[in-house]
């Protein structure tokens, strides 16, 4: 099988290029894309990519596979090829490339940091944990599962054009995760940080984020909830 991989080593290459490899795949097995990369790495030790848990939990190996963002470790080759005969692997789009498939995620993390992704509570700490009703806990389902792989934010054109000012789907999903938490008392302060024309409202609702999320989460719905909260607060 032909595999085409984005290569760029800023210390040696003047510009990025696509390198083609030919790979003999083991018969009768549907490998994951990460397995294919590991086989390539045996051929060419200079190929660089991030990976860790190899089971879709750590979020390290987000990349663009045949035009679609996803985690290499849980994307079966058959699904990635979808009838095509060759595999094209590129880094996640929109962020600077450190080397080959490794991107610099600083802007992504800065946006995450901006939404203060931790519980804030100004009431005195109780002797035991801050308890939640099962109903309040259920509000966090579909929000807390995000692994920050950046597949969603780097598939979002609004994030490509304004990564310094638009929080992006991953950051906004987490923003809502804390807005929706009954144990958090900083709702007004959080909303006050989000009501400018960029942070939330640069989302045009095209749902690329929902389309690619490897965990099946829905950032567009969370953004809609934030918008409703902002509207309720401001009118």
């Amino acid at each position: 099988m032909k595999v085409s991989v984005y290569r760029y080593n800023p210390e040696a290459d003047r510009k990025p290029y696509m390198q083609d490899y030919t790979l003999d795949l083991p018969e009768g097995k549907d490998l994951m894309v990460l397995d294919v990369l590991n086989l390539l790495k045996e051929q060419d030790a200079t190929l660089s990519y991030r990976r860790s848990c190899r089971e879709g939990v750590c979020g390290s190996d987000g990349m663009n596979i045949n035009g679609r963002n996803g985690l290499a470790c849980i994307t079966p080759l058959s699904q990635a090829l979808n009838g095509k005969s060759s595999l094209v692997v590129r880094p996640l789009p929109g962020l600077p490339v450190v080397r080959d498939l490794v991107i610099d995620m600083s802007l992504f993390y800065q946006q995450y940091e901006k939404i203060k992704p931790y519980l804030q509570n100004d009431e005195p700490a109780p002797a035991i944990e801050r308890l939640q009703s099962p109903e309040d806990r259920a509000k966090l389902d579909g929000l807390y599962e995000c692994i920050l792989c950046a597949c969603c934010s780097t598939s979002c054109p609004s994030f490509w054009w304004n990564p310094e000012r638009f929080v992006g789907p991953a950051g906004l999903l987490q923003a809502y995760r804390f807005l929706a938490d009954s144990r958090d008392t900083a709702t007004d302060e959080r909303l006050a940080e989000l009501d400018d024309p960029f942070s939330v409202f640069r989302c045009r609702g095209i749902m690329n984020c929902v389309n690619v999320c490897p965990k099946g989460l829905n950032p567009t719905r969370a953004i809609g909830h934030i918008r409703s909260m902002l509207l309720k607060n401001a009118t």
């Binding site: 054109p157 054009w161 304004n162 400018d196 939330v200 409202f201 640069r202 902002l230």
Partner: protein, 115 residues
């Protein structure tokens, strides 16, 4: 906190609300004019000026042009801040669009109240 002085209201929630409300007004005005044209037995200048002689049509038209200006500015502002990365180019395009929208506004006022 992200700030922007050239957005319509400077506030994301207000811009968003204005864009939605103005869209509804523009849709209603479009439907109204389309139905009026379709219901007319014969198109004539008298029928056209008779329509605009009515006070409520004048008010509706001005509401529609104000909605148009606000709606267009919010949309164009979004597109220019997305795609025009050079500040000089972006500000020039923004000012040109503001000028054009201002001319539309004045011409509509003139057409509706001036005759």
């Amino acid at each position: 906190m992200v700030r922007n002085i050239t957005s319509f209201t400077g506030n994301g929630v207000a811009d968003w609300l204005v864009q939605r409300v103005s869209a509804v007004i523009l849709a209603a005005y479009t439907v109204f004019l389309t139905l009026w044209f379709l219901a007319l037995p014969e198109w004539s200048y008298e029928a056209w000026s008779g329509l605009f002689a009515q006070g409520w049509v004048k008010v509706f038209t001005l509401l529609a042009i104000l909605s148009f200006v606000a709606h267009a500015w919010i949309g164009i502002w979004t597109a220019t801040t997305d795609y025009l990365k050079n500040t000089t180019v972006r500000v020039l395009v923004q000012l040109t669009v503001i000028l054009v929208l201002f001319v539309y506004l004045i011409l509509t006022f003139d057409a509706v109240w001036g005759v």
